[in-house]
């Protein structure tokens, strides 16, 4: 079928045309589904070769379910749910060509190329966006439980004892009225300590020396004050803790023996951000009813806005019909009470008073944060809550400048390598070298076009693979040429030597290339982004190199032989 030179030339020219077509940017219509289910067509310029994160800069996140606070019943299902939510959010966020995919059963990869504000993007990905509304506690449950909690703590040897504390502790003292007794709540390490649940030995590093009953006072009662004690309008269930003692109080409250003393009908939550009073900062602690009156899954839409009254950013929201009915009934029952708006287990702003029945719409105060954060919150609320919070297990960020340097060095190496290989081939093979070098040119063209056709991503190791494969790609030609030489020396005519040479070199070319592809496939299977790019380039390179050597070079030889006398005995090879 490819016997005649004309047919062979047609195939080669067609393939070159196709390759050039693939390597030229052209407009392309992309159809995608918007968050609300409509389809939208966007005309975009198709980039011939996508660059990996390491070449254009961007962020690569690997996420897993974070089960430290909430255990998943079905991890695979929850990971799938989280994937859907992330897709919606990132779609709304508006990043060009994001990669959001699952690897294995329980891990999600998010790749956002070329983003400028990685921290913001990370916030959007990681925010659980679990929204709920709860009525603040009016039974003074915490006030009643505090003395008992302090007694338990005292038994454990934790008290407001009085070692010469660091300066942070004296600030606390001043704020709390300067009583020496309340100083030194072992604040030494709290700034650096994690806010996760800790055991007593972790949280009370310096508590032991002084016996609790004599020198120590009740630690929680001294640290947790009703917010009105700081001059705020009183709200039932609202307490204030000096910001510097926030982490310490949090870990004390999480001690199981302490937490148990709070009635089951209430739960406690911290405010999302500290509140300033004068030069100091306090953190609000809320004691809330255990049942939320409504949660975010009844949310229909959320919009960022500037509150015309206060000129501050807010997010206004609308609930669906069923949610609106329930919300209306609950708020109607609780007129005059205070309702905390809780996002990802943190209370947003101070709990507002319910002045009248609220139906389907309401608003969330952003507590002094900017409009962009309001936009992000609306975006995550619209995309829905994550079933389980996510934790980042790998976070890789590449600056755009590093990517450009990498591209520059990769291309320099590519050019230098190609020139060296051409020099070697031309010196050694002369005329046949010219054939091999033209085949090499086609080889590079075909490899790049092939990568473009399968939408592969070019990474830095991929570029290295391309350079390496140029050195290796001539191998097939070398095998053929050497074989032709041997046949010529053995006394065959030129025509016969060429055809025998191609035939005999074939098994070596096939066997050696298949073994290389096999190792590359394993590399592809296990590698992550950049290394996968390497494997793909290598495989594509081998395919292109075999094709150019076996088909293109042979055609060149046939054309050349065709012009000469078929009985020629000399061949410049």
């Amino acid at each position: 079928m490819f016997a005649s030179i004309r047919n062979r030339m047609v195939v080669i020219v067609a393939l070159v045309g196709l390759a050039i077509f693939y390597l030229f940017p052209r407009p392309e219509t992309v159809r995608r589904q918007l968050a609300d289910g409509r389809m939208q067509d966007t005309v975009m310029t198709r980039v011939p070769l996508k660059l990996g994160l390491d070449l254009q800069g961007g962020m690569h996140l690997e996420l897993e379910l974070d089960e430290s606070e909430q255990v998943s019943a079905d991890r695979v299902r929850d990971t799938d749910l989280a994937l859907t939510v992330l897709r919606k959010r990132i779609d709304e966020f508006g990043v060009a060509e994001p990669v959001i995919q699952k690897v294995g059963d329980e891990r999600i990869i998010v790749e956002l190329a070329g983003i400028r504000d990685p921290d913001r993007a990370k916030g959007i990905v990681q925010s659980t966006a679990a929204l709920e509304f709860r009525i603040t506690d009016e039974t003074r449950a915490l006030d009643n439980a505090l003395p008992a909690m302090d007694r338990v703590l005292a038994q454990m040897g934790i008290a407001a004892d009085a070692p010469a504390g660091p300066s942070a502790a004296s600030q606390v003292t001043e704020l709390l009225g300067g009583t020496r007794d309340t100083q030194g709540v072992a604040l030494g390490d709290t700034a650096a300590a994690p806010a996760v649940d800790s055991t007593t030995t972790d949280t009370a590093p310096t508590a032991a020396p002084t016996p609790a009953p004599t020198a120590g006072g009740p630690v929680l009662q001294s640290l947790i004050q009703p917010s009105s004690a700081y001059g705020f309008d009183p709200i039932p269930g609202e307490y204030a803790v000096v910001e510097t003692a926030f982490v310490r109080v949090d870990s004390l409250l999480r001690i199981p023996e302490v937490e148990r003393l709070l009635p089951r009908s209430v739960e406690w939550r911290w405010a999302g951000a500290p509140t300033a009073i004068g030069t100091e900062q306090v953190r609000m602690l809320y004691v809330l009813e255990d049942e939320p009156i409504i949660t975010g899954d009844r949310l229909e839409s959320a919009t960022p806005q500037i509150d015309p009254m206060t000129n501050r950013p807010i997010v206004s929201f609308t609930l669906d019909r069923a949610g609106g009915r329930r919300f209306g009934a609950e708020t109607g029952r609780h007129v005059g009470d205070y309702m905390a708006i809780i996002l990802d287990n943190r209370v947003q702003g101070r709990a507002p008073r319910i002045n009248s029945r609220i139906d389907r719409s309401g608003q969330i105060e952003m507590a002094g944060r900017d409009i962009r954060e309001a936009q992000d919150l609306a975006l995550t609320l619209n995309a829905g809550a994550l079933p389980i919070p996510l934790k980042v297990v790998r976070d890789r960020q590449v600056g755009a400048s590093l990517g450009q340097d990498s591209i520059r060095s990769g291309i320099t190496a590519l050019i230098a390598g190609t020139v060296l290989v051409i020099l070697i081939m031309m010196t050694y093979y002369r005329l046949a070298g010219v054939l091999a070098v033209s085949a090499l040119g086609l080889y590079i063209l075909f490899t790049l076009a092939g990568l473009s056709a399968i939408d592969a991503t070019l990474t830095l190791p991929g570029l290295a693979g391309l350079v390496l494969s140029i050195g290796i790609a001539v191998d097939a030609n070398v095998l053929i040429f050497e074989r032709i030489r041997e046949e010529l020396i053995a006394g065959r005519t030129v025509r016969l030597a060429v055809s025998e040479g191609f035939q005999h070199a074939m098994s070596a070319i096939v066997d050696s290339n298949v073994s290389t592809v096999l190792t590359a496939l394993f590399l592809f299977q296990f590698g992550t982004g950049p290394v996968k790019g390497f494997a793909v380039t290598l495989i594509m390179g081998i395919a292109a190199s075999m094709f150019t050597a076996i088909f293109v070079t042979k055609t060149f030889f046939l054309i050349w032989l065709d012009r000469k006398d078929s009985q020629a005995t000399s061949l410049s090879i």
């Binding site: 400048s401 050694y428 190791p461 050195g471 098994s507 096999l518 390497f534």
Partner: protein, 324 residues
């Protein structure tokens, strides 16, 4: 026409004892070097945080950075200057608290704060940051070893199918030799082993096998042609006949690798170094390990046609030629 090693007739197989002694010495040296130090795994395999920072001002004062990090509670750090020292890589092994990448992110921020103090905020730029949780690192390391291990068997199976198990076994032993020597090479140069280096090792495996296969293909053909000939002359002749090809292909591959070593940049250099070493050890092992091992196997388990060789892959070799 230019020809190198045109009618070469070296007695490669005759040199096998010397070659094996040389390999033994190299291996011993390598293993001693390996004992002295641990393989330097990158954070991809151990977990941890890597921050790369470039300053526009004078070169980084590494000792000041180290001291600053130390007082920030980050003692276990490794600082590598790149190029003229305006860019550094800071690798922090211990995380601030806990054990997840969330904390390694906190670590990256802590490093940033220290650099702000030393260079002044705004006068330096974080070119990249990578935080890997130890769990992910452990997984990647297991996967890398599995990939090398399984690719080994896949190739053995392919060779057994295309040639014969004797050939496959000899090729795999030669490749195992290459891998061990390459690991020694990595240890001696103290190269950081990350995914890119594993990719280099796997490519090296492919390349070395490729080279062995070219020679074995010729052995297969020559056995087929001259059935009366002894195995030793056949092996020698096959190696000599493929010598011009070997020299040429290795030169072009090395040329490409040298371009990568010089121009390819920090990330690619370890890859190119390992691969360049692989070109040498691959060539050596194809001639001095694979062929003698094949001889040894044939002497130990003789084939059926009295000469110690069952003419292997007769049918498949022919069908491959025909399909061309």
């Amino acid at each position: 026409m230019t020809r190198i090693f045109a009618n070469a007739n070296y007695d490669f197989i005759g040199m096998r004892r010397k070659a094996i002694i040389a390999t033994g010495v190299l291996l011993a040296l390598g293993l001693v070097a390996l004992l002295g130090r641990r393989i330097n795994y990158s954070i991809e395999f151990t977990g941890g945080t890597l921050v790369e920072a470039r300053t526009s001002g004078p070169a980084w004062d590494i000792e000041a950075v180290r001291a600053g990090l130390g007082s920030a509670g980050l003692g276990n750090v490794e600082i590598t200057p790149y190029g003229d020292g305006q860019e550094i890589g800071i690798r922090v092994q211990d995380v601030v608290a806990g054990g997840d990448a969330d904390d390694t992110q906190a670590t990256a921020n802590a490093v940033g704060a220290v650099l702000d103090q030393i260079a002044g905020a705004g006068s330096w730029e974080r070119t990249s940051a990578d935080a890997v949780s130890p769990k992910v690192g452990g997984e990647l390391r297991t996967q890398a070893f599995l990939a090398i291990f399984f690719s080994f068997f896949a190739v053995l199976a392919y060779l057994a199918w295309r040639f014969e198990w004797r050939f496959g076994l000899a090729a795999v032993i030669a490749t195992a030799h290459d891998i061990v020597l390459t690991i020694c090479f990595i240890a001696i140069l103290n190269l950081e082993v990350g995914l890119v280096v594993v990719a280099a090792v796997l490519s090296m495996v492919g390349y070395s096998l490729n080279d062995t296969i070219i020679i074995f293909d010729r052995v297969r053909e020559n056995m087929h042609r001259s059935r009366r000939e002894e195995l030793i002359p056949v092996l020698n002749r096959s190696i000599n006949e493929t010598l011009p090809r070997s020299v040429l292909t290795h030169s072009t591959t090395l040329a490409a690798l040298i371009a990568l070593i010089i121009f390819g940049g920090e990330v690619i250099r370890p890859f190119a170094l390992v691969m360049a070493f692989g070109v040498f050890t691959g060539t050596f092992s194809s001639i001095f390990i694979a062929a003698p091992v094949l001889l040894l196997i044939e002497q130990r388990w003789p084939g059926i046609d009295g000469r110690g060789v069952k003419v292997a892959g007769k049918g498949t070799a022919r069908s491959a030629t025909q399909s061309a």
